[in-house]
Assembly symmetry: C2
Homo-oligomer: 180 residues x 2
Amino acid sequence: MLKHGILGLLKYHQMTGYEIMTAFRDSLCFFWNAQTSQIYRELQVLETKGWVEKTPVPQQSKPDKNIYSITPEGRRELLYWLSEGELSLPSRNHILMKVFFFGERSREENIRYFEGLKEYCEIFLQSLDAAQKHISEYRAFLDAPEQAVYWEMTVDYGRRNLQGYIDWAQSCIDRLEEMK
Amino acid sequence: MLKHGILGLLKYHQMTGYEIMTAFRDSLCFFWNAQTSQIYRELQVLETKGWVEKTPVPQQSKPDKNIYSITPEGRRELLYWLSEGELSLPSRNHILMKVFFFGERSREENIRYFEGLKEYCEIFLQSLDAAQKHISEYRAFLDAPEQAVYWEMTVDYGRRNLQGYIDWAQSCIDRLEEMK
DNA sequence: TGGGTCATGTAACCTGTTACATGATTAG
DNA sequence: CTAATCATGTAACAGGTTACATGACCCA
């Protein structure tokens, strides 16, 4: 999956591993986050598969760069991945796992947990504005700027999802308050 | 994480690995799914940590069972896990990863994708009724039946989340239709 | 007689996380 | 002077997936 994310980014533009990491951190972080350690490992795999090509670029007074670009086989693979495959919703939710077993604790503790969750989501919501901003900036570099609608759709989902958590947490609090 | 899910289930009642699997499949599947292969592996780990105990039960005309029950240390660990730790929202969404790169494809293909997503979520929503039913059945076996509110909260989140996907997918379709 | 359920697991693999390691430049 | 940024990675581990393997019972 990360493999295809990297291919997708390289389709826009050739990049170093570091630049790929910053793209994830700045624009994709709310639905995927990737450490450099994993990115460099995947780049090696992608290279052996022939989906990307590495060009070493010596720099004066800085460590050398390796610039990666997508190959025709990589483009084919990207399109294949986009059209293929099962729909799969995220199926591992740590928060729900805890809440499922909240019967072990006091109502008060659980209410505090939901309050904390609301705050956390509200802060996260604000950080989405930053992702939105990055996306608007990158838009200018696209050949076909209408492509950016899809980026905006992902941010829109992020917002709805966070608002969904906030509303749900509030409804849980209300329910627990009523039980008192 | 799965470790603590298993501990939580064993806190309700002693079980075999197989029964743990069925509990995940029937009641927790919408936010966590676990294969038997992983469950048996984790049970071994939990045993070496002293959090669960295995009691072999010979059966006539059937393979033997191993019934697992939670130890006092396991209970302590369960409570620790419930109170400790960071909030972490699921941060890996395969659907958004694809949508982010939908600029590579035609609007028509993408509209079809979102239509498929809506259908998929609608079917999934119905399957949540089954989870709800299982929860209602299990409720009777609880010492403290009010614990089941927390189970219901997770199902409630599941429903809201799926409805969120449906609404979002529809809004994406609308946006793409407008662009024509 | 064939498929589903109960019941147990192993092995290989893939993916992601954490910690570590290096080293230069640049901005405050 | 110090922290951040650019730039590269390795190693060990943790967690999850897929495939395989066995075997009896029960229902249609």
